[in-house]
């Protein structure tokens, strides 16, 4: 029977964490993909404007952002491994790794704040032109996801410190990690698209 198969299907047939987060992740990825494609089409249509504006973005900030997110993602992946082998008394190790992810996410937001402040000081905002409308919309939308990820990781880190995640209970930490990796993955596409990829003149 179909219902019986669903009940008896092995857990490793499903992605890590709660199944619901994967529907959320796929919905978010679809939204980001639509935004990326819209940006790419606009780039083609308004090439002179985009080609002139793109060099005004500081790619070094983007590289720092990338390194921070990769480092955070590494910490979160290690936290999941630590939780999977921990006894209920050994939750602290995964908590420490999760805090690395929280710190990296927080520093990402701080560096994004500095980047925006420099733009505002130069008189550039959302209404300056179409390129900067995309720039602020895409990066702010992503930064909101990072902010949510930082809050989620912080909550999970506190719970891990109290021994909530161990070899027999990893769904919560896997769910948070999956969300965080999705945020990281989106940035890795966003960074070259927005800051770097140019059409040779």
């Amino acid at each position: 029977m179909t219902g019986e198969n669903l009940v008896t299907a092995p857990k490793n047939s499903y992605p890590p964490g709660d199944l619901a987060i994967w529907f959320f992740i796929l919905a978010e990825l679809t939204a980001f993909f639509a935004l990326f494609a819209t940006y790419a089409v606009s780039y083609r249509i308004h090439y002179p404007l985009f080609a002139a504006m793109q060099p005004t973005l500081d790619a070094r900030w983007g590289a720092v952002n990338t390194a921070l997110l990769l480092l955070g993602s590494w910490g979160v992946a290690r936290a999941v491994v630590a939780a999977k082998v921990a006894s209920p008394q050994e939750g602290r190790r995964s908590s420490t790794w999760l805090l690395l992810g929280v710190a990296c996410g927080f520093l990402f937001l701080v560096s994004k704040g500095f980047e925006y402040a420099a733009k505002f000081r130069a008189g550039i905002d959302l209404d300056t032109n179409l390129f900067f409308t995309f720039y602020f919309s895409l990066t702010a939308f992503h930064a909101m996801h990072v902010l949510l990820g930082v809050v989620i990781l912080a909550i999970v880190a506190v719970k891990a410190r109290h021994g909530c995640y161990h070899r027999d209970a990893t769904v919560g930490i896997e769910t948070a990690a999956s969300y965080w990796h999705m945020v990281d993955l989106v940035w890795l596409i966003l960074f070259p698209l927005l800051y770097l990829l140019t059409i040779p003149v």
Binding site: N12, S13, Y14, P15, P16, W22, L26, L29, F32, F33, F36, A37, Y39, A40, V41, Y43, R44, A59, R60, A63, T66, A67, L70, L71, S73, W74, V76, A77, R78, V80, V81, K84, V85, E174, A177, S178, H181, D184, L185, L188, I189, F191, P192, L193, L196, L197, T198, I199, P200
Partner: protein
């Protein structure tokens, strides 16, 4: 004694993260070489490839999707490769 499977997975995560981090720092250093036009262009393509690499790493290493059936892994792989290919093709024409 440490679980060998966990130790293997930990090493895999470490190596993947290190490669991606070195690649990012290397790509950023490229832009500072002074050959702005050439280096900038190469950096663009390099980081786009890095995006694909990172996507695949997330799918298979960080997210631990290896034991998962293809209908789940395939969705993420499709997104990574599709997003890069379609946006790259639209911009580069």
């Amino acid at each position: 004694m440490e679980d060998p499977a966990a130790a293997k997975r930990r090493r895999l995560i470490d190596v993947t993260a290190l490669i991606l981090l070195v690649a990012t720092v290397g790509a950023a250093a490229l832009s500072e070489w002074g050959l702005q036009q050439v280096a900038g262009e190469r950096l663009s393509y390099f980081l786009l490839l890095l995006a694909v690499g990172k996507g695949l790493a997330v799918v298979d290493v960080f997210m631990d999707l290896r034991p998962v059936v293809w209908r789940w892994r395939g969705l993420l792989w499709t997104w990574v490769v599709g997003a890069v290919a379609i946006c790259g093709a639209l911009i580069l024409g």
